[in-house]
């Protein structure tokens, strides 16, 4: 058992499935010899060969469409979008084909595939490399959208995503690709999809986040604890479909909620969670529901990205505002 980073956990999970399931095929731009621009597929082509780990021409619509064709033949394609900012050419295939093929054929053809993409800001990347647009995919019925926040979850959730009989959009928060290490046993044990993780139990306020923002959220929770505020922290992990039961249970206990996300606020995953709470637990609320979010503006180039992305301070301020609400 070794301490590994989130990206190493992704690589380990991909290797595990390549090793154990010959139907698993990896492809995308630069995933082969180069091992991916972030090295998520480092060494995999050398080990599993050019027919299992494939460099494609530069075309995302084609990458998604190839995955549809291969999945319909019963393979398990794992396609990489080099950055989430370049997933949009593939949008038509994702919305009209990937998400629907099972339904369109009443179950005759299925789409057991994963579309992976690094996403989010904070690494001083060029424009279009830093957005968080998970909400677009979460709104599409027929897709699962999974975002790991740490190495163990990256490993366990990636295994689950590949094994899932339905399509999974797997978004990797690249800002935390390498910032923490976990002891992760490469034992092939998956984590459940469609399940939130309660990372800190608390009774005063529920902080809800996913992906890279879990780090700020957990730090904020510790700081709140120092000030006598006992926060429960939930990692949503599968942002669609959401395990609302876990969230509602927590809200019924604390009565106060703050969602923390990097994406713009309007029409976000945070909005959906707030709406569900407003439908199913509104009378448990002791305060307005907070959403600490990216602003409703274009993700700026890197000189301003720190000003755009939620900080521990913003979470603390909002949590306290919610705590003080009467």
């Amino acid at each position: 058992m070794a301490a590994i980073t989130l990206i190493e956990a992704v690589t380990a999970a991909l290797a595990h499935e390549l090793e154990h399931d010959k139907e698993v095929i990896l492809f995308g731009e630069d995933v082969g010899k180069n091992g991916g621009v972030f090295r998520a597929t480092d060494g995999l082509q050398a080990t599993y060969g050019e027919e299992r780990v494939i460099d494609t021409p530069l075309a995302e619509s084609m990458i998604a469409g190839l995955a549809v064709g291969m999945a319909a033949q019963g393979m398990k394609p794992v396609a990489e979008m080099q950055f989430m900012g370049f997933i949009f050419p593939a949008m038509e295939h994702i919305v009209t084909q990937v998400a629907r093929m099972r339904n369109r054929t009443r179950g005759r053809l299925t789409m057991p595939m994963v579309i992976r993409a690094p996403y989010g800001g904070g690494i001083h990347a060029p424009e279009h490399h830093s957005e968080s647009t998970e909400a677009l995919f979460a709104h599409i019925p027929g897709l699962k959208v999974v975002i790991p926040s740490n190495p163990s979850r990256a490993y366990g959730l990636m295994l689950a995503a590949i094994r899932d009989p339905d399509p999974v959009i797997f978004l990797e928060p690249k800002r935390v690709y390498r910032i923490v290490k976990h002891e992760v046993e490469d034992n092939g044990e998956e984590y459940p999809l469609e399940a939130c993780f309660v990372d800190r139990e608390g009774k005063d306020i529920t902080l809800i986040s996913w992906g890279a923002m879990m780090h700020e959220t957990l730090i904020a929770a510790e700081k709140l604890a120092a000030e006598g505020i006992d926060a429960e922290v939930i990692d949503v992990a599968t942002v669609s479909p959401i395990d609302m039961e876990t969230i509602l249970e927590s809200v019924r206990k604390t009565g106060r909620v703050c969602v923390v996300q990097e994406a713009p606020k309007s029409g976000s995953i945070g909005s959906e969670i707030a709406a569900e709470i407003a439908e199913h637990a509104v009378m448990s609320l002791l305060a307005p529901i907070g959403r600490v979010s990216g602003y409703d503006t274009v993700m700026p180039y890197y000189k301003l990205e720190k000003q755009y992305m939620p900080t521990v301070d913003r979470i603390l301020d909002e949590a306290k505002r919610i705590m003080e609400y009467k």
Binding site: I25, E51, T56, P57, A59, S61, M62, A64, G65, L66, A67, V68, G69, M70, A71, A72, Q73, G74, M75, P89, E92, H93, T96, Q97, M101, R102, N103, R104, T105, R106, G107, R108, L109, T110, P141, G142, K144, P165, D166, E194, P241, I242, D243, M244, E245
Partner: protein, 360 residues
């Protein structure tokens, strides 16, 4: 090097029967087999009868929007005749001919256009794709299917179809390009029926031929007279054999004419030219084949009558089957979304069933 020619290309056009059914060159063996040619003629006639019936159903409110193949029957029947059960069709909305030849039933096709997903749960051609409505997607899917076949070292061909208008979509090009790079066993049928709804071919592209689009993928492109089933079948057979045997992809442009409205929702008289259409009727594929059969004493008015009666019966039987399909229950909106319905969606399923009066 100074100024040199670094690449050169030619696009060939193939025709075997002219508009009067007269051979224009030495015919392939299958074309001399009158049983084969009669059966192709019957297939085309069945498709035409099926289309006409479906139109009528639409006009009486028993069918949704439907795109017929009038004038283009030689294409689907032509390539469809070269396929085995192992091959895969990745169809578009005007692939009725190919799908019927591959075992998809008339009832299934009616069910699909009748607004019921069950129509794509093919009972026979279990690996064929459902009809692709978003134009161009099917081209890339076909390459994906072929890649799976290549990885598994199988000898199976993939055939997909697209209209000439559809070739303007990026997906067309992305799909043929990767087929070239990976040497995939796909046949890309480009049906140049001169129209994309109301948009004439000269507004789609400045190309003289659609076959030459293959050159941008570094693959073979061939043009055929799409109203000549001998030409379509001959070239399709070549390309399908090539696809099956590791020879790589082919683009086949079939030059034809859409003699019907785009779909039942369209009114071509708003934009087409009657004279041109009248001319086009003289080139349509069935008359020419019939003349060829007659010239070979392989067809008579009596044969025609008998065939029409038989086809009408087949179509009628399919329509009856179609009309007998029970209306899908609301649970079907949920039961094939995922293998397992998410917890959060279960109450919605229950609500839908409750509101529909509790079926299932």
């Amino acid at each position: 090097m100074t100024t040199t020619t670094v690449a050169s290309f030619e696009i060939k056009h193939h025709q075997y029967l002219d508009a009067d059914g007269k051979p224009t060159q030495e015919l392939p063996a299958f074309a001399k087999d009158m049983d084969k040619m009669r059966s192709l003629y019957r297939d085309m006639a069945l498709l035409r009868a099926f289309d006409a019936k479906t139109y009528a159903l639409q006009r009486t409110g028993k069918m949704g929007t439907y795109p017929a193949s009038l004038g283009q029957e030689a294409i689907g029947i032509g390539y469809g005749d070269c396929l085995t059960a192992d091959d895969v069709i990745v169809p578009y909305y005007r692939s009725t001919g190919g799908l019927l030849k591959h075992g998809v039933t008339m009832k299934e096709i009616l069910q699909y256009w009748g607004g019921d997903e069950g129509g794509s749960d093919y009972s026979v051609a279990k690996e064929d794709f459902p009809i692709c409505v978003p134009i161009g997607n099917q081209i890339v899917h076909a390459s994906g299917v072929a890649k799976a076949i290549q990885i598994r070292k199988q000898k199976r061909a993939v055939v997909t179809e697209i209209g000439e208008g559809g070739t303007s979509e990026g997906d067309f090009y992305e799909g043929i390009n990767v087929a070239g790079v990976w040497n995939l066993g796909v046949v890309f049928m480009v049906n140049n029926n001169q129209w994309a709804i109301s948009v004439p071919s000269e507004i789609q592209t400045a190309c003289e031929t659609y076959a030459q689009k293959a050159i941008a993928a570094g693959i073979e492109g061939i043009q055929v007279d799409g109203n000549d089933i001998i030409a379509v079948r001959q070239v399709a057979e070549y390309a399908i054999e090539k696809a099956r045997n590791g020879g790589g992809p082919t683009v086949i442009e079939s030059v034809t004419y859409r003699l019907c409205d785009h779909t039942t929702a369209d009114d071509a008289s708003r934009y087409d030219n009657k004279d041109v259409k009248d001319e086009a009727w003289k080139n349509e594929p069935m008359v020419r084949l019939r003349k060829y059969l007659e010239a070979n004493k392989a067809w008579s008015d009596k044969d025609e009558e008998a065939m029409n009666a038989e086809n009408a019966k087949k179509v009628e039987a399919a329509v009856e089957e179609y009309m007998a399909i029970p209306k899908p229950g609301p649970e079907l909106m949920f039961d094939h979304l995922f293998e397992e319905l998410p917890e959060m969606t279960k109450p919605q399923r229950e609500e839908a069933i409750r509101r529909a009066g509790g079926n299932k």
